[in-house]
Each structure stands twice: as C-alpha cells, then as structure tokens.
Symmetry: D2
Subunit: 340 residues, 4 copies
C-alpha cells in the first residue's frame, strides 16, 4: 500500500516516517510540506540520511491521488479542513491526525476559534480512539488528540462500568514540549521551559470537547470535566492524572477487573501494578494505566501515560490505519519503549 | 546573634549558609554534620571557597550552647527529635527545619513510621507558617514542610473566608529533586529522573497530616484532603495545584480580594494576575499564587509556587528567625528570584 | 539462534533486550543478573511488560551452554573475566561488552586497577570495532568501549591516510549519564548532574589504552593521545570532538574523500555535511561524522556522535554478532534515530 | 549614583536589575527597551513584582542624561554603536555590555558582518576584563564577551609567565542557552536543545578576535587560537576547556603559583584544587579555575567556569562600574553561588 504524508516536517509527520519505514505493508510514496518545500527531507533533517531521502513536494491533491492509496494529514489545525476537501469529494481515503475533523462544526468554531470544515464533510469522518472504535473498511478517520487519548483510555472503563460520580472528574494532565508543536514562541524557547513548569490554557484547552464527546458515548449523563494542562520540561510524554469519586467503595481487585475486562486483549494498553511513569512508554505505542484508591477521601486516582507523538499522534494513526485495512493491529510497531 | 547549624551538608543546611552569609544580624558560629564530619565545608563543597571555610564538627550540644544563641536543625527526619533534647531541657532556642516537631506523637508515629519525640517536648514547639503564626519571643519553632507551605498558603485564605466545599479539596503537588534530599537511591539516580515524571507516596505523604492540622485551625470541620506528590525533573521548585469547589459563584475580583485581605502586607506572598510558574520564585523566598475559576464545573483552581529550599525550608526558617527576634521579616533575603 | 545474556539489568543488557526482541534470527533463551536475581524482568522494569517476561536467573555456565548458542556479557568491568572462563574452556562463543577482554593483561591491570583475565584467554578474544575488523567465524569477541568507538571511527581514516601530525591529537569527549552505568554515587545523583557539566578521569580514562592500541594498527608510530571525558546532563549520547593538525593543507573535498573511501559501504557510519549533533543518532546504531578545517590554525576539527548504549555498547554487540554469523550487518536494527 | 539601562528585557538587562537592586551605591533611574516598550517591567516579567515596577520607556538619550549619571547598554550587537553616539559626544559615561565597542572598526566589520562604530568613538572605549584592566576614572568601558572572559582569565597567567607554546592553544568552550540571547530560532527551540549538544560557529565565533587581542597584550607573538563553541542543554554557565603544550615540564605546584601570583588578591577568581564544574559558580560573579597536567602528552588542561550572565555579562559590568568609581570591587554582589 502506498501513502502520502502532508505536513512531513512537523513532529507527527517525522514520527510517521519512522514508524512507516519499518511497516511491512506500507510504503511512503510522497511527502508534502507547507513552508519547508524543496530539497530532500534528509537535507533538512540529517538524522534521516539514508533512511528517507524523498524530496519534499508542494501540496497537489491530484498527484497524491494518482500516486497513493491514502493520504495522512499531519498538519497544524486549520490546514486539513481545506486541503482534505478534494479527497473527500473524490471518496479517496484520508487519515487526519490534526483536530480539524474531530468535532461538530459549532464546537470546532467555539474551541479552535477558526472556521470549521463543512458539517457534511465532518459527518463523513469517524473519530477513532483505536481501542474503542470499529473502523474496519472506513475511509475517513479523525485521529484523537494526545491529551484526549490518555484521558479517554483512563476514564472510559470506569464510566462504562458506572462506578464513578460523573460530576467529580478532575484531570490534571502534563505534556512534554513536542505536544505544543514546532512553532517558535516565547513559550517554546529553551530557557523558558527548562527548569520550569507552566500551566496553560486552563479551562480552555481544545481537547476538552473531544474528551467530553467521547466519554458521553459511554454515559450520556456526563456533562463536563475539569481539565488542566501543563508543560513538563521534557520532549516527549503525557501523564493524565485523573481524580474521581467512587459511587461506592471498590477493592483494588474489583477496579483492576474493570480495566482488564476492557483491555486484556488490547496489545497497546497495559494495566500496571505500580503507578506508571513516563519512562514506561516513551518511544512506544503503549498506554500504561495504574491507580490507587484513597479510602479516607473516597477518591480514586487513575494515572495514564503515553508518548504523545506515538500513541498520542503518529502511532495511533498507524494503528488506526492497520485497523482500517484489517491488518494486524501491531504491524509496523517496535514494541519496546526506549525507556531511557 | 550567633547561630549553630546541625546538618550543614544537607540541602537545607547549605541553603542556610547562603542566606545567613548576607544576613545583617546573624553570624554562623559553628557547623555540624553526622556523616561528613571533619575538614572545611569548602573542601567538600568547593563552591563555598572563600564564602564559608568553617570546619565541620561532630555534634556537641554543650559546645553549641557555649558558642551560640540558637541552634538550627537541618537534619533528616528522626535526628532532631533526639539531638534537640538537651537544648529543650536547657531552655535554649531551637529552630527545627525537619519534620520531627511538627505533629503530635501519635500522628508522627503513624505517618513517619518512627519513634516520636516525647509529647512534652512536642508541646513546647510552635508550628509556624510564617505568614500565619505569631512567634515573636518564642523559643522552639517547628518549620513547616515544603509541600505543606505551598499548600497552606494557597488554601488558608479560602478556608478562612468560608467559601469552599471542604469535602472537595484535591491537591496535585509537584516538586524538584532537592525536595527528596541527598540520599542516594534508584529514585534519585539521574537517568531515572531525567525525561521522566513520577508520582510517589500517593495518599501516604507525611506532609498530609501537618496540612490538615493547619487548615483545621481555620475551619475545624475540615476532615481530610486528597493530596498527591510527583517528582519534576528539575532541582528546585514546588507547584501545588489545588482544585476546590465553590459554595457559591464568586467573581475573580471577589476571589482576589480574599487573597489580598490576607497577604497585602506580607512581603513574601504575591498574588499574581497570571498563573504562576516555577521561574517566578526560584532562588527567592516568595510564594506566588494565581487562580482561575471554571464556571462550567464550578471548580476554582488555585496554583501556588515556591522554591522548596528557600520558602519551603531554609528561607522560611530565617524568616521565622526574624519573626522570633522581632527583626524586619525580610532581613538577610535577596529579594530577586534568579528567574533563569 | 539462541543467546543468553549475563548482566541483564544493566543499561547495556536492557538495550540488548530491545534490539534482540526485533532480530529476525535471534531469540533470548535466558537472562542473568548478579544482584537483581529472581522474578520476571518486567516486574522490575515495568516498561518491558509483555515484551520480555523472562525470569532473571542466577548465573550458571552449564545451563547457559545447554540452552544457548552464544553468551553475551553486559556486566560491569571485573565480572566477565571470571565468569567467561568456563565458556572459553569449552570453546563456547562469547561476546563481551565489558572492558575485560579488550587489553593485554598488563595494560588492563594498569588502567582498570583490577586483576586481569589470563593472557591466554585474552589472546583468544578479538577486539572488534565492527567497521574495521573481520570477525566472520570468530568465537570470542571483545566489544569496544563507547568513547573508544566514537573516537576510533573519527580518527582511523585520517591516520590510515597519513595526513595528520600524530603528536597533536586532542580529543574532548562528552557523554550522557548512562555511560557511567547504574551504580548509585554522588556523581550520578540527579541534582549533581542536572544543570551541570563535569570533567572527570582527566588523563586517566580507561578507554585511552584501547584507543591508542587500535589507532596504532593504522600507524604504529602513534604514541599517545590527549583525551578528556565529561558528563553531559542527558541520558544518552557521546560526542567526540577531535582536534588534529594536518601535515599539509587539504580541501574539504579531499577530506570528505578520505572518509567516503572508508565508510561509503558501511551502513552505520554516515559522513554529514553539517557538524553532527546528538539528536542525529540517539536511539540508533549510527555513528555520524562531520568536520571543519581552520586555515588560520591549520587545525582540522572532526566531530563524531553515537548513542553510547547502541553503537557504543549493545548495538555494536549485535552488529558484531551479525558479522560473526555472516548475517546482514543491519539485521535486527531499527534504522531510524528517535531524533527527539 | 543613578544609572539607566538600555535593553532591560534582555537576559543581561534583567540580570542587572537583580544585582543593582541590592547594590548599596546605585539606583536604577530608568529603563529602556526596543521592542517591549510600555507597561511596567513586572507586568511582562512577573517574577519582578514588587522588586522592580519601573515603566519600560522608549529610548531617549537626552532624558537619560538628565536623570542619570551613567548609562549601561545591555543590547544585542549593532544597537549600542548607534545609540551610544549622543553620550560619547556629550562625554557622558557609558558601560557597553554588547560587542559594539570591543574591537577595531575593521575587525568588528569582519567578524560581526555589520557596520562598525566610528574608529574615533571606538578609540575612546577601554576593553576591560576586570581583573586585568585599570579603569578607575575612565568614562567609556567595553565589557568583555562571556566566552572571552572565561578564556582570558584561564590563559593570561600562563601567557604572561611565558610557559606555553603559543602555537598550540586549543579551547573547547561550552555555554548554556542564555548565552545565545532571547531571539526565537530553531536553535533555541526547547526540543532542539534538550537532550542535545550542538557545536556552532566553529572557527567563526565573534569572540575569537577579542580573545586574541587581549592575549596579545601579554605576548605580542601570539598569532591565533583554535576555538570552538557548543551549546549545553542548561540555562546558565560556561566552561572553557583549554589545552596548551608546556615549553618545559612544570610541577602542579609551579603551575598553581603562576595562578596565585595573578589572582590571590582578586575576590572573584578562585583557583580550585579539583577541576571546577558549572555548579561551582552559577548565580555568582566567580570565575573558578582548575587544571591537570598530562606528562605523557605534555599537555596542560586548564578549565575555567563562569556564569555567563554574571561574570560573563551583567556581573562583570557591575564589577567594572565599581572599579570605575573606585568602590569596593564586590559592592552589590551576593557572594554565594546558588549551587543547585
């Protein structure tokens, strides 16, 4: 199978190169960028010398449809909603890693402060947290956000089991800098990040509505979540620390059973005995989950960790691609985290 | 005034050297360690060459009382409760930075899993969050813990004002590695901390009881708090992210007024317009506080940041010393954070 | 082919698990440790859950020879020289990542300050920088040191070409902390490494003699090198900055030709146009080399970078294994650096 | 004494605020910026709330001369050469931290690729490494560069003593990111710096000519130095690792005597027994120097470390101010490094 990647020089695009380079069923046919057009990818990113020496081309939807079987958008928000139109019109498969096809038009406009894609086009896309969505044979996939992935995988089993008070959900999420993308800004300058810890977009993060939408699929009475995001001085990694109040006391075994029932046959979600840390998953497509219950406060703390560029972006995209095509879900994945 | 420091080679002891070196009213008379006895302090810590070349002596309570006017304990927990006995018996002033004299005997035994000081001695000590305790003329001071300082300064104004639902307090606190002390362990090895984020002692951190005790002074109906602690890959700094539910809606101005009423005349606590980050306070004795209210969830998020070695340990100790002696509260302090 | 690994819980042992997990011709038959014996590897290292759940066994040379076709030692120096004896006596293949079989007995004793292996056993081992040594069919391989690998790959082409003044070689080498191993010490405590840069073992590093020995193979008149090693506050990565004086002026093209002549057909060594940085190679088995000539001083600066745990240890070991067996040199390797 | 600062929002400008805030003889009269004009300094830099709440003004040379006794330029290169003209014309004291008044017009044009100040104006400025220049009563001071300061303090004593072969000097210098200034660029983006180590401007760094000029004052036969600069993933700190060949063998005591003869009475330069590390000096105006001689290669390695923002910029500027005015050289300085 041949795929084209649009937005190759972003962090997710570069991560796709790595995963697809070792994928048994996929070849990268052509690569596209908006600003960094021209020259070989490995001229601009010397770490890829001999790995991917394709030329970065200027976007051309007809050329892509002529050369490839599917296009992946790894672009910043606001780009795919325009560039994907030709493909949707031609019924050509699209996998969008950006946020452009995850929400309804109104919700997108409210949270992204941008003009949305048409509601018609949005209706054609399926939002797919890979462990919870059946997408075999689907043509248009909206890949979830990084914070959303970590949060949804942690909370869905509890909501599905009906064991928590839905009004009490508080998520304190933290991410490494790659989650904020490559744009140059004061907030991504090394000296402002290093030795620092900064909470941002409090109560306003654009992943909030997609989390709420997804969780509502499992209990429509859920109204909202309290959600904060902060920047860790690391390159990769997200931890979502979720605080929920139990409706009634549960033992650790009972809680573990709830998670095992959901994930025992899912190769990329692991329930850990100890609280998971970022090192567990960096460089891999795993989502690790752990928990601790406090009988004094009746609060259950659930912690999930992912690599935001893998399970939180390019990795889940390839996992979704595997599922669309009916391949082995783990095809193309190096299963061992880099650890250090 | 002359002071002696016991536990000079710990992070808090070394930080005391820095602050007292520039204090207009205090000289360090003698310094003591348990393991690293002998030789000049600057032989072991070359950054102090020419700054503090005193010899590290073996602990001797009689010598200290002969040479000094006050002794500061900057020792790990379990040490001061023994070594302070002679001074208490002699009614000689003691400032204990460790956790040994903060809790009742029973509570200490439960949370520290160690034999407590005698309840008689414990009764003589005053636990002093410097902004909230009148200690002028007192002789025995228990300096608060680092997490406790950040949390109490953030929450006391709200509890005192009676505006929050006391059952809903959730604190997600994070600290740099100096908070864990100098002991060598897997969890302090560079490669296990760098590029990582680890939650530890969840529901079991020994600062929980001192926070609950202090908060109860402002509303005795408070029963417990949900409190988590994690390690940031930085040397210094604590952020306490506090989530509380308001009893009734308050405007940002009304919330700001609650804090200003408490801290407007306190030189080391600053209410910031934006959410504070670690860089605000590192290298200084400031505690910076900021907040944001979410009308959707009715949750108020309050964030406080301190340098754990300064306001969270040695700095607050000197502030408490200033207050004991009736001096200017800011004597000895460099007021500008190092920022970067 | 089945291999056993001794020293599985060290950084090199754990890295071997990752590489061999994806190797098409190799299975890990059994794993051994000295201190951390018992339990599954993934109990102690949760990131390996589902990846390697083998039990950590106590060392037993007979069991290894019964189960496996080759043993890899990933032990600290001083261990393999003892434990390898049985295998050498039985003519059973050994790949030693440690420094125990790289030097003559006298040189080892002088630089490692330890009792050496017998000279008889040492004579059976071949020191193999994979790009420069023909080991097909050999049974006993000494894998080079990490600093040595980076330095030798940078300097051999120039020495072989006879273009530099051999008296002028100065190497300023820097490494991340994993190069120093897992031992707990003041120098590996997070707060002493973070925000710091420390030069250590100046003029005394134990990799100096193996570098000099290897370089002498290409010009026996070389007597010594000036070599310094420092710790970078990162987990992985070595940069060797080599300063040499040219015998006569060479153009950049002429210098590039010297390197291309040596490495054009070597899959893991890349000559880069720009000076290489650590990100080029982290997570991969590449050694990237770049250079700049200064006509004012007649000094050529050559910079080489490797991932110390991959090309500098476990990766080169697997590359050597591939070469011993006559397999494709790149078998088992993920070719794309992790980059970020 | 009243001073005005131009370029207040750069790292050196902000560091000046910190030092001058505690200076017994100096008040900051007014502050200026080019881009970030308007509003209080503490609105843009909340860590300064209550410390420096002055308004950032638009540059006005007449206003400065009316309000102040001296102006300090903490601007990027290319600014002070224009803005300082009025002050020079009026014989009003100027302290320039930037590189604009350090070199002759021709040399500046060659290395900075910018139009130089007039040679007439340049002739009025004195380049002052504080330990080596008599500037009492002088009006126009060019403060040295950060790399230059570390390198010159390390090498001058050896050159003055005539003990090294001047053709052999190789300096491998490393700096934290604040040395590169606040400008946003790919090379200052967090993810490109973190976990990386990058050599830049090899053979082209603009501090090379000022180092050569200064060293020539002590031996005019010196022609050049080999000088490299790299970026460490830290905020602050420079280490200059200097390799020199001795003319004849010297004992460690003899080398130490050479340094003591130069620096025994200099409060900010310390000869350390062990090789100095960044932690020795961060947050202070110290330059620490250490060395090791290798009899095998006859190479002496001298290592000097400074905080690039203090001794390498704002700190040395205040030290120079103290010397200009005939005050105690240490006035205004916190003498204890922050260490961690």
């Amino acid at each position: 199978m041949k795929v084209s990647i649009v937005g190759i020089t972003g962090y997710s695009g570069l991560e796709l190169v790595k995963i697809l380079h070792q994928h048994p069923h996929v070849d990268i046919a052509s690569i596209y960028a908006v600003k960094e057009v021209g020259g070989r990818l490995s001229d601009r990113y010397p770490y890829l010398l001999g790995v991917c020496d394709l030329t970065i081309e200027s976007f051309d939807s007809q050329a892509i449809m002529a050369q490839s079987d599917l296009v992946i958008f790894a672009t910043p928000s606001g780009v795919a909603k325009e560039l994907a139109k030709d493909f949707v019109a031609a019924d050509f498969p699209v996998l969008d890693i950006s946020g452009d096809h995850r929400l309804s038009a109104n919700t997108y406009a409210k949270w992204y402060k941008k003009e949305p894609a048409s509601q018609d086009n949005l209706n054609k896309f399926t939002y797919s947290v890979a462990e919870w969505t059946d997408i075999k044979g689907k043509k248009f996939i909206a890949n979830p956000g990084c914070y959303a992935t970590a949060t949804e995988l942690a909370l869905i089993p509890l909501i599905k089991a009906g064991v928590i008070d839905l009004d009490t959900i508080i998520v304190d999420a933290k991410s490494g800098l790659t989650g904020a993308g490559k744009a140059l800004s004061e907030s991504s300058h090394f000296v402002n990040v290093h030795d620092n810890y900064v909470t941002y977009k409090l109560n306003h993060h654009q992943h909030i509505p997609e989390i709420v939408e997804e969780l509502k699929l499992f209990d429509s009475s859920l109204q909202h979540i309290q959600f904060s995001t902060s920047l860790l001085p690391v390159n990769r990694g997200i931890m979502a620390t979720c605080y929920v109040t139990l409706k009634s006391v549960l033992s650790s075994d009972e809680i573990a059973k709830i998670y095992h029932a959901c994930y025992a046959d899912k190769p990329f979600v692991r329930l850990q005995q100890d609280l998971p840390e970022l090192h567990n998953v960096i460089g891999s497509n795993f989502c690790d989950i752990g928990f601790a219950y406090n009988p004094v406060t009746n609060v259950l703390t659930v912690i999930s960790v992912i690599d935001n560029l893998v399970k939180g972006a390019a990795g889940q995209a390839v996992q979704n691609l595997n599922l669309m095509m009916g391949w082995d879900e783990t095809a193309g994945f190096l299963m061992t985290p880099s650890y250090l």
